[in-house]
């Protein structure tokens, strides 16, 4: 038999105190878990914003190459400036500026330093000011994405390496041999070898992956599943595996080469000897010597240690978009102060483009604007009357409840389904125009409708019955009460809900992709029936482009989108604070 008084004594026993300590630490643990959960969410948000904003900084500025160009009156017809070949003129200007660049590939790489858009910008300037024809002017040519990224150090850098020796040059035919009085190239050999071994390991990993795939397809074939297809795939994978292994062995052999002269190629670091604007890109090196082709002009046969530079591009040429020639030319241009950096106006004024340096978000922003216009008109002018009806006129009938359940369910339907609705009804059935803001706007409007109806009903419900009763007592009809008294009072709440609904719609992507708003559209739309794209879809498309320069632009477009969302949410908060009424 248990005595309760005995049990009572347990509360003040030392065991109870010890137990309490444990219970308290269990409480601390729960609290810590909560703080951890919040910290993790906070960290996720910070990481997300950090990575987006960090990447976006790459798109703040753009590079220009400042060059003098002769606007030859023979080449340009003053009456038809548009027809002149500005692109050709720009190319010959480059050819004249760097006469030592010869050969088809090097020339093409040189031309690729300036954007294809630069010639059009030059043309536009001349068309605006025809008196320039015949003059020689200094013009800032927009740099290509590759040049811009090199100048922003995105591909690594050509950097000076330490050296102590004096060099002497001997030229035989095209090849110039450099002999240094010190083992200046020795450190490079170590890193070149290590680099080659690492590369070989990477290839072996890929070979192993191919082998894994081969086993799977072989097994499928053995199981009698699509024998021919799977067998062919297995053979293909086997061949790829062997190719990777062969390449890896080749690299290892290259690294193991112990001879005095070591071949450099596009898979190793690039090494240069530089005097002023002139370079020798080394094809072979040994500890004290190297050889390669001259780019520019070397006037002396020998140079003291202080007069030449040993330059190294640690990233192999195959691992970067910018070629050695381009990098050398850009270094020369930078040293000659010909590189100018400006705020990236293209990004904020241009429409879409396949060339990253010419691509901008203005077209998408305008498209978003038209789409949002249609959305707000549709959702607001249907949503608010619907809310008034449900809140003020509809009794608590079965039909009303059905409509309510409907609205709640619609709010939770995946957005992609709304896209398919738009596709089949507006484009399929009504034959409306694909990728126009009007269709996109209506689809987003249908999606936003439940949000606005729910918000508007809450706002209407918040108006106290005393207001209604007062107006009723003056002989106003139900409709007059709603329209003249209830609606104006609930308007701030309705508008807040509308803005928040719009903010959600502004970021929606999937339904718009369904109705074909993913087309490549360069022009800025003039109205809701023009072809257009919208900001989030633009982000989606750019994120998919392989050009590295689009990464920064995608991030910058996200920043623009987030900015719009921030402004809208801020407006909603202000509106709510300003008109918040306590009845």
């Amino acid at each position: 038999m248990i005595s309760m008084t005995e049990l009572s004594k347990k509360h003040v026993s030392p065991e109870s105190a010890a137990r309490l300590k444990k219970r308290k630490s269990a409480q601390k643990r729960l609290q810590m878990l909560g703080i951890m959960a919040i910290t993790i969410s906070g960290l996720a948000l910070v990481t997300l914003l950090w990575s987006v904003f960090g990447k976006a900084t790459g798109a703040i500025t753009e590079s220009y190459i400042e060059m003098t160009i002769e606007l030859d009156a023979d080449e340009i017809d003053r009456d038809n400036i548009r027809a002149a070949n500005f692109s050709g003129m720009a190319k010959s200007m480059l050819k004249d500026s760097f006469p030592y660049v010869s050969g088809r590939t090097p020339r093409r790489q040189m031309y690729d330093l300036i954007s294809v858009g630069a010639a059009f910008e030059l043309r536009d300037m001349v068309m605006e000011n025809p008196s320039l024809v015949g003059q020689t002017i200094t013009f800032e040519f927009l740099a290509s994405d590759i040049a811009d990224l090199y100048l922003k150090h995105s591909y690594g850098q050509i950097e000076a390496a330490p050296h102590t020796g004096d060099i002497s040059l001997v030229t035989e035919g095209k090849v110039t041999t450099i002999q240094s009085s010190a083992p200046d190239f020795a450190p490079l050999l170590v890193s070149v070898r290590a680099g080659l071994h690492a590369k070989a390991e990477g290839l072996r990993t890929q070979a192993q992956m191919q082998e894994n795939g081969r086993v799977v397809f072989d097994q499928r074939a053995a199981d009698g599943e699509d024998v021919e297809v799977n067998l062919a795939e297995a053979i293909r994978r086997g061949a790829a595996r062997d190719q990777f292994y062969a390449q890896a062995d080749e690299l290892d052999a290259l690294a193991a080469q112990q001879g005095a002269v070591f071949d450099l190629d596009s898979r190793t670091a690039s090494v240069f000897v530089r005097v002023g604007d002139s370079w020798i890109k080394l094809e072979t090196i040994s500890e004290t010597s190297g050889s390669g082709e001259i780019l520019g002009e070397f006037t002396q046969d020998s140079y003291a240690a202080a007069d030449w530079e040993l330059m190294v591009y640690a990233t192999p040429e195959t691992a970067r978009k910018v070629s050695d020639i381009q990098a050398m030319l850009l270094e020369n241009l930078r040293d000659a102060d010909k590189i100018v950096t400006h705020f990236n106006t293209h990004f904020f004024t241009a429409g879409d483009s396949r060339e990253p340096e010419l691509a901008g978000v203005w077209g998408a922003a305008v498209g978003s604007f038209w789409t949002m216009m249609v959305t707000v008109i549709f959702a607001f002018f249907i949503g608010v009357p619907a809310a008034i009806y449900l809140e003020e006129f509809a009794g608590d009938s079965r039909a009303t409840r059905f409509v309510e359940v409907n609205i709640n369910n619609l709010a939770a339907v995946p957005s992609i389904v709304f896209g398919l609705l738009g596709l089949s009804v507006f484009i399929g059935f009504f034959g409306m125009h694909r990728s126009s803001p009007i269709v996109g706007g209506i689809v987003l409007g249908i999606m936003t409708l439940p949000v606005i109806i729910i918000a508007a009903r809450a706002a209407i419900k918040a108006v106290p019955p005393s207001i209604r009763d007062g107006a009723m007592a003056l002989g106003a009809s139900d409709l007059q009460v709603s329209m003249h008294h209830v609606l104006p009072l609930s308007m701030p709440g309705i508008l807040t809900g509308t803005i928040l609904g719009m903010a959600r719609a502004l970021g929606e992507t999937a339904p718009l992709i369904m109705i074909g708003m993913v087309a490549f559209i360069v022009d800025i739309p003039d109205g809701p029936t023009d072809n257009a794209t919208v900001l989030p879809v633009q982000i989606f498309r750019w994120a998919d482009f392989p050009e590295r320069a689009f990464e920064a632009r995608t991030a910058a477009a996200i920043v623009v989108l987030l900015l719009f969302l921030f402004v809208m949410n801020f407006a909603a908060i202000i509106l709510r604070k300003r008109f918040e009424r306590r009845w």
Binding site: I2, M4, K10, H11, S16, L20, R23
Partner: protein, 253 residues
């Protein structure tokens, strides 16, 4: 011979700027039912909640003065409110059974405080508590049903059983019968009278008849002051203060 269980000296309670309890000194006796009466908003519930430090859960609440239980200051740093509340049980105005089975409701206290080591003992404590709360007969066949499935009066007795099972020394009751019908009220009052033999019981009530029926001692509260404290029979037949007399004769309330 009855000892002083809880001794209160110059207790003041503030809710923010609101001075809710003003300089109250009162000795609560062991094995006695003490009733706090007074008009609503007079501070009787607030004072009751000081005795098991339930006011600690309200951040704006501030308490000064001394409250000693068996001579030990319950607001001392060394006293943990969690441990204190195990010794000072409480029953609320509205029955608040947990959404668990009847058995688990009663076993909750003994389990968290580790009062028993095995299932047999726990079963025994549960049965004993339910019996003492005079509800065993009604629920003994449905211990696995939810506590919320009981009627209001049964729920309140379940809550009393739940408080008893924790083996407290003092039992605080905040208008325990106000939400119940007359029959359930009578059962609860009968129960309180039983409990007096084991515990020090403090009951807040706005029903003077109830105070007269169940308590031996009565304290009258008015606007934060404790106006009068004494034997229940004395207070009801021969009040000293004019306000007490006005209240018990129904002039205000």
């Amino acid at each position: 011979m009855t000892n002083v269980k809880i001794s209160n000296r110059h207790v003041d309670v503030y809710y923010g700027d609101n001075h809710a309890i003003k300089d109250v000194s009162i000795d609560i006796l062991d094995k006695t039912v003490t009733a706090f009466i007074g008009p609503s908003g007079c501070g009787k519930s607030t004072f009751l909640r000081c005795l098991n430090r339930m006011n600690d859960t309200i951040s704006s609440c501030r308490i000064t003065g001394d409250i000693l239980m068996d001579g030990e200051d319950i607001y001392a740093k060394s006293v943990d409110p969690v441990q204190l509340r195990a010794r000072v049980g409480m029953v609320f105005q509205k029955p608040n059974p947990f959404p668990k089975s009847i058995y688990d409701n009663v076993a909750y206290g003994p389990k968290i405080h580790g009062l028993v080591d095995n299932k047999t003992d726990l079963d025994e404590v549960v049965e004993l508590s339910l019996k003492r709360a005079a509800i065993w007969k009604e629920v003994k066949d449905r211990l696995n049903e939810s506590g919320t499935s009981l009627s209001g009066g049964q729920q309140q007795r379940l809550c009393i059983a739940r408080a008893i099972a924790t083996a407290p020394e003092v039992l605080l009751m905040d208008e325990p019968a106000s939400a119940l019908d007359p029959i359930a009220t009578a059962q609860i009052e009968e129960l309180i009278d039983e409990l007096r033999h084991q515990y020090s019981v403090v009951i807040v009530t706005h029903s003077m008849q109830q105070a007269a029926r169940v308590s031996q001692k009565t304290a009258f509260f008015h606007m934060g002051d404790m106006v009068e404290y004494g034997d229940t029979t004395e207070i009801f037949t021969n009040p000293v203060d004019q306000r007490t007399q006005d209240y018990i004769t129904g002039r205000f309330g």
